[in-house]
């Protein structure tokens, strides 16, 4: 009895909360809920509301109201529509290129490489994450300028690199987001039991058949997880297009140039990547891979 009293006396908060389950729960989720609802969802909601507002043609000031013109302009202005489609294709291309690089690399790292090579590669993949995002973009810009490193290094064998254009945008975005694809794919391949490879070869499957029939089906959830990052991060980016795209426009470019001049159009446009990602997640869900993530 006396022990209990001492405990309650020395830890009054625990004792108090012990009897009140609801308060305990509140204490646990209050902060994250404030963050999600109060900061995250509220700001998104305010943004969505702005998309229905007007801009005063005389003073360029935003006036509350209700119009669907901003959304309609996404489809009726040819430059807007083509930019949306271009951005979607760029994001898909970045995802495809990332998968193409990540799977062979993951197989090599997980199953073939010696431990020290594996560690060195893991560091090499994650190293770019330590550098600033803008620094990496400017670095790509400098490497691929007309008189930059790439053209200088490959000039002797008669190769010239891509100029500031869509291919360079895809390359730069892949460079930025590749770790988000490579790491989950590598982890997934490591988790495949070695005896599955043995079983596959016992039944006469060659290397590529094993990869295609055994490895790929098992790592689809990891690829989907990685692609959510590569796809959605590419959709929202605009600095890559600005610095390495030449005159290439992406959805982000339109948002950036309208954020001061015409906030309602910028707000309406910010819904486009959200719509793309939702559709993407729904398709991914259909394949059943989200449950296994």
């Amino acid at each position: 009895m006396s022990t209990q009293t001492t405990n309650a006396g020395s830890r009054p908060i625990s004792a108090y909360l012990y009897k009140r389950a609801k308060l305990r729960l509140f204490g646990l989720i209050a902060l994250p809920m404030f963050w999600i609802v109060g900061v995250y969802i509220l700001s998104l909601f305010l943004l969505l509301i702005t998309a229905f507002w007007f801009v005063d043609p005389f003073t360029s000031k935003v006036i509350p109201g209700f119009t669907l013109d901003n959304f309609i302009s996404i489809f009726t202005v040819p430059a807007y529509l083509s930019t949306s489609i271009r951005t979607l294709l760029i994001a898909l291309a970045v995802t495809a290129v990332s998968v193409l690089f990540a799977v062979p690399l993951g197989i090599y790292m997980a199953k073939i490489a010696r431990p020290w090579v594996r560690n060195a590669l893991a560091v090499a993949i994650t190293l770019p994450l330590w550098a600033g995002y803008l620094v990496k973009i400017i670095a790509m810009r400098l490497v691929f300028t007309e008189e930059g490193f790439f053209n200088w290094a490959l000039a002797p064998i008669g190769i010239s690199g891509p100029t500031f254009s869509i291919p360079l945008v895809i390359l730069t975005l892949t460079y930025l987001w590749f770790p988000y694809m490579a790491l989950p794919v590598y982890t997934a391949i490591r988790q495949i039991p070695p005896n599955l490879f043995d079983a596959s070869s016992d039944m006469g499957a060659k290397g590529f058949t094993t990869i295609y029939r055994v490895v790929l089906p098992l790592i689809v959830p990891a690829i989907i997880a990685g692609s959510v990052f590569t796809f959605s991060l590419s959709l929202g980016d605009y600095l890559v297009a600005k610095f390495t795209g030449g005159s290439t426009q992406m959805i982000g470019s339109i948002i950036a140039s309208n954020i001061n001049l015409n906030p309602p159009v910028a707000a309406a446009f910010s819904m486009v990547p959200i719509a793309f990602v939702l559709i993407y997640l729904m398709v991914a869900r259909r394949t059943g891979s989200l449950e296994r993530m």
Binding site: S60, K61, A79, K242
Partner: protein, 389 residues
């Protein structure tokens, strides 16, 4: 104490002005523009202790703010903005007292009632030494009322890589026409106000369009300018708004010709990069201090405008940023100052006569036409968005 001293000064200045009978009746071009009626500051009072400034990079620097703070007790809080549009957005929050606006932002702020008319009697350094071409311009002097104190100006010049072009291009056609030999290696300025550059080109080459002022375009004239910009889009290598990107683009060989500022050419530090003012003339940015209509620090704001209008401080800002100072008395102050003024054509009114100062397009035609409605900046913005496919 210091505040009182200053008001004594301005009293003197006021009486001097009354005696000389000098009052600015300069009505920029006889154009009447609807503006909200906002009272101006009547007389100087106690300093409030701070002044919040939205400015271009390089306009506010401890090299001259330290002395101002010591003299007045007004602490300078500076927020650097990257574009005119950002400046307008920031000023509309009402959190800032004063802005170093270019003409394309200034008239927008005036018409929107975001800034107040100025009592120049309270700004003794707002003097006759201001370059002629920076006085009474429509972007900051509306219906005869001054709204801005000139800081400095610069032209949007044609920069070219002399190694490639072998001499200065005579015309802007190298950046507009599809048969340009530099196709794909052209850079254009990335903002709706660049539509005016297309209009300047059309003024010269298509007089039948009847463009008299590149900031007063009716619907048909705007359509012609947009068509030209769409044509340019097919030959442009890059659009620039970020100065660093423009410099690396020229220095790295990706761009051969395009819009630039004298100061960017200097920063690129390559002898083969040169600038020229082609036969059509060009646009330019003329910056002035404008005071918010919602300011809580009106006395500090006036003191700041007065202080920065002195030849030495105005010159220091101009040298730091790389532009022509508004107060040309600075040019005579030293050999170094004179060299700077010569390089940026500060005293060369003949040069600046060929430059159209950035002015926000509004529905009132600033060229004086009354029979048509001109296109507003919002229409320019919407049109600009359709250019880059």
């Amino acid at each position: 104490m210091k505040g009182k001293k200053l008001s004594a000064f301005s009293l003197l200045a006021v009486s001097a002005l009354i005696l000389s009978g000098c009052s600015s009746s300069g009505d920029a071009s006889g154009v009447k523009i609807e503006v909200p009626d906002i009272p101006m500051h009547e007389s100087m009072g106690e300093f409030e202790g701070e002044v919040n400034i939205v400015n271009w990079a390089g306009f506010v620097d401890p090299k001259w703010t330290d002395k101002f703070e010591a003299d007045t007790g007004c602490i300078v809080k500076s927020r650097t903005a990257g574009t005119s549009d950002e400046m307008v957005t920031l000023m509309r929050t009402g959190q800032y007292d004063i802005v170093s606006a270019s003409g394309d932002a200034a008239l927008r702020l005036i018409v929107g009632g975001d800034v107040q008319p100025l009592n120049v009697d309270l700004i003794p350094n707002f003097s006759d030494e201001i370059a002629t071409g920076m006085r009474n311009n429509i972007y900051d002097t509306v219906n005869g009322k001054p709204y801005g104190v000139p800081i400095g100006r610069g032209a949007n010049l044609l920069q070219y890589n002399d190694d490639v072009t072998k001499g200065a291009p005579k015309s802007w056609d190298v950046v507009w026409e599809t048969n340009s030999p530099y196709k794909g290696k052209i850079t254009a300025y990335d903002a709706p106000i660049y539509i005016a550059d297309a209009a300047v080109y059309l003024m010269y080459h298509k007089p039948e369009l009847g463009i008299k002022n590149p900031y007063a375009l009716d619907k048909a004239q705007l359509d012609a300018a947009i068509a030209l910009l769409k044509q340019q889009n097919t030959i442009v290598g890059e659009y620039w708004s970020d100065a660093v990107a423009q410099i690396t683009s020229f220095a790295g060989g990706n761009t051969v010709v395009g819009t630039s500022w004298e100061i960017l050419r200097k920063f690129a530090a390559k002898p083969n990069l040169k600038t020229t003012l082609p036969v059509e003339g060009s646009t330019g940015w003329y910056d002035s201090w404008l005071v918010s209509s919602k300011t809580k620090n009106i006395n500090c704001s006036y003191a700041w405008m007065d202080y920065t209008s002195t030849a030495s401080v105005n010159g220091a800002i101009a040298m730091n940023f790389g532009m022509a100072p508004a107060n040309i008395a600075f040019c005579k102050s030293s050999a170094e100052a004179q060299a700077h003024c010569d390089e940026f054509a500060a005293e060369d009114e003949e040069f600046f006569k060929r430059i159209w100062p950035w002015t926000t397009p509004i529905s009132t035609c600033v060229d004086g036409r009354k029979d048509v409605e001109c296109t507003s900046f919002q229409e320019w913005t919407n049109a600009w968005a359709t250019i880059k496919g």
